[in-house]
């Protein structure tokens, strides 16, 4: 059986037994149009509410503010592994209330600090100046030109304060609050001429500019991008690709590291993970921070196109400081800042799977979890979610357990045919990483047991250690496809529709032909039909 054939068999084993792991998905297809839709049709879009990160970055770039009212917003719901999925980003009365407070705080800050002059750039006692100020601010905040009617309406909000006998400042404050609480700011509406139509249409240039900037920067377009939208040049593919290059070179592209890689590679989870102090007294904030930085800097190399995604699992470099080098047992002479170091073929560090952060967050506080690690690889690198465990299935007991006994227990567990059907998928992948303990240190023994990291994948290919296993995963056809699927989901803020598989296939193929560099892959997604097209939904359809 080839790697894809068994995947199609998965639903047949969907109800067979597993381990008590939370965090796996049911692997059901994403929402398709009514009746499934036509193959090759673009998926449906839902009006996107700025998530917490996007709100924070947008107010920063719009106003230049240092305030961060978004820090107190309730957590955004996560779907398909990301917190920017439009369909589940809702507004509760509490969140609305916090938006209203935020608008007050931000407007107050704009008018009373040094950032005032950049927003109020003329003499606001003159009506003509105020029109210019409101037009400029609203157009940037709403990410498309404000109409004259909208500017006039802001002027009348300004007048409320004058009518109260107060001054220009109070009036300006009201208008700014209005701009920031407007649904045109909180959401990113993409309006159809006929709201009841589900016909796909090309985005206009401003809509496309926003999609691009929220994908690459988790924030609003900058002046250059607005200008490109205004002169209509984004419709040109060469110009669109040039914009991607420009934007990836901007420091704001760090958002892709923090938000895309931060969730895909679970770097963000480090903040919430607390290894057991008694088992791992060497764990502390400095080690955690170094691991988080290592993972981000590592991904950054791919984002800059310095390394092909083909090498994600087998690289000859990583980033270390003195603390992390010591933790990994590598003899580098380093300071407290992380630096890129070259690894040789005998080093136990060789890419994504040996990042301390990933190895740590896929462990329990006390021990490694080969099942969690295996599930992570299947879900995040191969997009092949194993079926979740049936109800009532028991997990492994906690407490002292060496890797030797752990492997034995998992073997026993896999001897049960009910469990074996999915544990044969997950366990070998996780056991292949048993040379790395629950905080990512390399080990050859565990509690006196020699570590055995050999195994066999479900398709029969064998490996003797983690490096060989990584090579097998990297060559799996599903790997390249999965990277496209994850990036597409994040870029569009929605899952891939079943009708969109041909787009994913085509992007994966073209990316492979072009050397699988991440910036090129991003351009392929940005210039794809789903990214440049909008389709609404009909009543009653999901």
């Amino acid at each position: 059986m080839d790697g894809n054939a068994w995947l199609r068999l998965l639903p047949l084993v969907a109800l067979l037994g597993c381990d008590g792991v939370i965090g796996s998905s049911d692997g059901e297809g994403p929402f398709a149009g009514p009746g499934g839709g036509d193959v090759g049709a673009v998926g449906a879009d839902v009006m996107h509410r700025l998530n917490q990160t996007e709100y924070r970055n947008t107010t920063r770039d719009l106003l230049g503010t240092q305030l961060d009212p978004a820090a107190n917003f309730p957590a955004d719901d996560v779907s398909f592994g990301f917190d920017n999925i439009s369909q589940v980003l809702s507004v509760s009365p509490l969140l609305f209330e916090l938006y209203e407070q935020a608008a007050q705080e931000l407007a107050g800050e704009v008018l009373n600090t040094g950032i005032r002059d950049s927003i109020v750039f003329c003499d606001p006692s003159l009506a003509s100046c105020r029109s210019d100020v409101f037009r400029e601010l609203a157009s940037r905040a709403w990410r498309r030109p404000a109409s004259e009617e909208e500017v006039t309406r802001l002027q009348s909000l300004f007048d409320v304060a004058l009518n109260e006998g107060e001054g220009v400042e109070e009036g300006l404050e009201l208008a700014i609050r209005g701009v920031l609480l407007s649904p045109h700011f909180i959401y990113r509406p993409e309006l159809d001429d006929d709201p009841l139509s589900a016909q796909p249409r090309l985005l206009n240039d401003y809509e496309l500019a926003s999609r691009l900037s929220y994908f690459l920067w988790s924030s609003m377009p900058d002046q250059t991008l607005f200008e490109a939208a205004a002169n209509g040049s984004l419709g040109d593919e060469t110009e669109l690709r040039a914009q991607v290059d420009r934007m990836l070179n901007d420091p704001k592209a760090q958002a892709l590291v923090d938000n895309f890689a931060g969730q895909w590679l679970r770097i963000r989870s480090l903040e919430d993970h607390v290894p057991d102090y008694a088992s791992f007294p060497q764990w502390d904030g400095a080690l955690r921070d170094a691991m988080g930085q290592e993972a981000k800097l590592f991904f950054g190399e791919f984002l800059r196109g310095n390394v092909s995604m083909d090498e994600l699992l087998l690289t000859d470099f990583t980033f270390l400081n003195d603390r992390l080098a010591e933790h990994y047992g590598l003899p580098f002479d380093l300071g407290s800042q992380l630096e890129r170091v070259d690894l040789d073929a005998n080093d136990p560090r060789f890419g994504l799977l040996t990042l301390g952060s990933l190895l740590t967050v896929t462990s329990t506080p006390i021990r490694t979890s080969p099942v969690k690690r295996g599930v992570w690889i299947l879900e995040q690198l191969l997009c092949s979610e194993p079926p979740p465990p049936p109800p009532g299935v028991e997990g492994l007991p906690e407490g002292d357990m060496s890797s030797g006994s752990l492997r034995d227990r998992l073997e026993l567990h896999r001897a049960d045919p009910t469990c074996a059907s999915c544990h044969n998928l997950m366990d070998p992948l996780g056991l292949g990483l048993e040379n790395y303990d629950a905080i990512g240190s390399f080990r050859t023994e565990d509690d006196g047991f020699p570590v055995d990291a050999s195994g066999q994948l479900i398709d029969g290919q064998g490996f003797t250690n983690a490096r060989e296993m990584a090579a097998l995963i990297q060559e799996d056809q599903r790997f390249e496809h999965c990277i496209v699927e994850k990036l597409f989901t994040y870029a569009l803020g929605r899952p891939v529709a079943s009708t969109e598989e041909p787009f994913i296939e085509a992007i994966a193929e073209e990316s492979a032909q072009n050397g699988s560099e991440l910036p090129e892959l991003i351009k392929l997604i940005v210039t794809s039909e789903p990214f440049r097209t909008r389709r609404g939904t009909l009543e009653g359809s999901p």
């Binding site: 592994g81 507004v91 329990t364 007991p397 407490g399």
Partner: protein, 442 residues
């Protein structure tokens, strides 16, 4: 006509004791009550991962029952609690795996969640049915508070969207009410608009400005709505609801208590839970709201409790496999959870209201999304109902509704009908499977 005498001296305990509460004397007489009775109030307190039942369930029923090890912290308020055993929540049973999401979403809804990561559909929760009816009487119709915002990454539970795992209050089938995990936000919600330094004139102007901005935003929202398709309209409806609710609040009288100070947002769990408990008491005491839900963790929380000597993950312990070491860890965590409840109840009991106390005028529902963490059962749920809510319950007892262990006990939806009735909200049915109000409570 005479208003109820809400206590004026309100303090945050512990390290949160930064508050002094200057009173608005002029407003005291304005509190809008028609008689001497204090209103009924509700807190629903959620804890994750079920309970180690062997150390929870009292062996005797009736009023002569002994507190089990996990229930021991409730000794000071034993005569004010009901230990309720044997109720089931079958709608919370998920489709296939996903018991934590199913149990948490069904926690107050007794409704069956639609298994999806994007098509979120459930049902209205019991606290929101109550808030819809009595919420107008207070500045805030209901409050949603919690400790954990949500793990930063990953899926939630077995194909169920995270909304099912992080929220217990649902305003409608499709509208989860997100909770705040910030003490600062809770404090601002309670005391918003009660600036003791502002003149009456200044306060009136602030209100006018806020109303004007809301009017403007509502116009925009309405204009936008006409240009949207079906799904996007549903999205914008949530925004419009936010406008409406805030406008309503601005038109309500100010709170009878005022406060200065600033509860700090701390990363320390014990401290954070205590401050949240203090703030909940404060919110009820000041009559800022009468309905609160509180989540001590999110569904299937894997938090570790190193300060209790339980440094493994809670969810992992809960898959105990009958291992005594796991039982011991669970019992430690569960007992700590009950201590937090006990603290809340004792604080409520210290607030005098007329001839009674805040606790006697309230009901506090304390339970988890499942029974046993290993078996993921949705029957024989661990429940404490505290406070007699103006005599609606005869407390100081253990009631077992599932004496014949081979048959599921009555639906918990029936308890919710009784709890609604105690709040003056009479319905004949609730959730997916109610059969009528629960007996034996009075």
């Amino acid at each position: 006509m005479k208003g109820p005498k809400f206590s004026r001296r309100v303090m945050l305990g512990g390290a949160g004791a930064l508050l002094s509460l200057p009173l608005f004397e002029s407003l005291i007489g304005d509190a809008a009550y028609a008689d001497d009775s204090f209103p009924a109030r509700l807190i629903c307190f959620y804890l994750p991962n079920g309970i180690h039942m062997a150390a929870w369930t009292p062996s005797q029923t009736g009023s002569n029952f002994d507190l089990t090890p996990i229930l021991q912290p409730l000794a000071p308020v034993k005569d004010q609690i009901l230990v309720v055993s044997g109720l089931s929540n079958t709608p919370a049973q998920p489709d296939g795996p996903g018991d934590h999401a199913g149990g948490t979403s069904g926690f107050l809804t007794s409704a069956h969640a639609n298994k999806s990561e994007t098509d979120i559909r459930l049902g209205i929760s019991m606290d929101q049915v109550i808030a819809n009816q009595i919420g107008d009487a207070t500045r805030i119709a209901s409050m949603q508070i919690g400790i954990d915002g949500g793990g930063n990454t990953g899926n939630c539970d077995s194909g169920y969207g995270c909304a099912y795992s992080r929220n217990v209050s649902w305003a409608s089938e499709t509208q989860p009410l997100s909770k705040t995990t910030s003490a600062q936000v809770v404090f601002n919600q309670i005391f918003e608009g009660t600036d003791p330094n502002a003149s009456i004139e200044e306060q009136a102007r602030r209100k006018l400005y806020r109303t004007s901005v809301l009017d403007y935003v509502r116009e925009q929202s309405q204009a936008l709505e006409n240009k949207l398709g079906y799904t996007d309209r549903t999205k914008l409806d949530q925004f419009s609801t936010g406008i409406f609710e805030l406008e309503q609040r601005l038109n309500k009288p100010s709170l009878v208590c005022g406060a200065t100070g600033d509860p700090s947002d701390t990363g320390d769990l014990v401290e954070k839970v205590r401050i949240m408990n203090d703030l909940m008491v404060l919110a009820l005491q000041c009559d800022a709201t009468r309905v609160i839900t509180f989540m001590l963790g999110n569904a299937g929380s894997n938090r570790s409790y190193p300060f209790l000597g339980a440094s493994g993950g809670h969810h992992e312990y809960s898959h105990h496999q009958s291992d005594p070491a796991n039982y011991a860890a669970l019992q430690t965590i569960d007992t700590w959870e009950v201590e937090q409840l006990s603290y809340l109840l004792q604080r409520m009991n210290e607030v005098p209201e007329g001839t009674g106390t805040l606790l006697q005028h309230s009901q506090v529902f304390f339970s988890s999304e499942i029974e046993d963490g290993n078996a993921h059962r949705h029957r024989n749920l661990p429940i404490i109902l505290a406070g007699n809510c103006h005599g609606a319950y005869t407390t100081g007892r253990h009631i077992d509704y599932e004496p014949n262990k081979s048959v599921n006990g009555p639906p918990i939806a029936n308890l919710f009908l009784s709890m609604m009735a105690a709040m003056g909200v009479n319905q004949s049915s609730f959730g997916d499977n109610s059969t009528g109000a629960l007996g034996q409570l009075a």
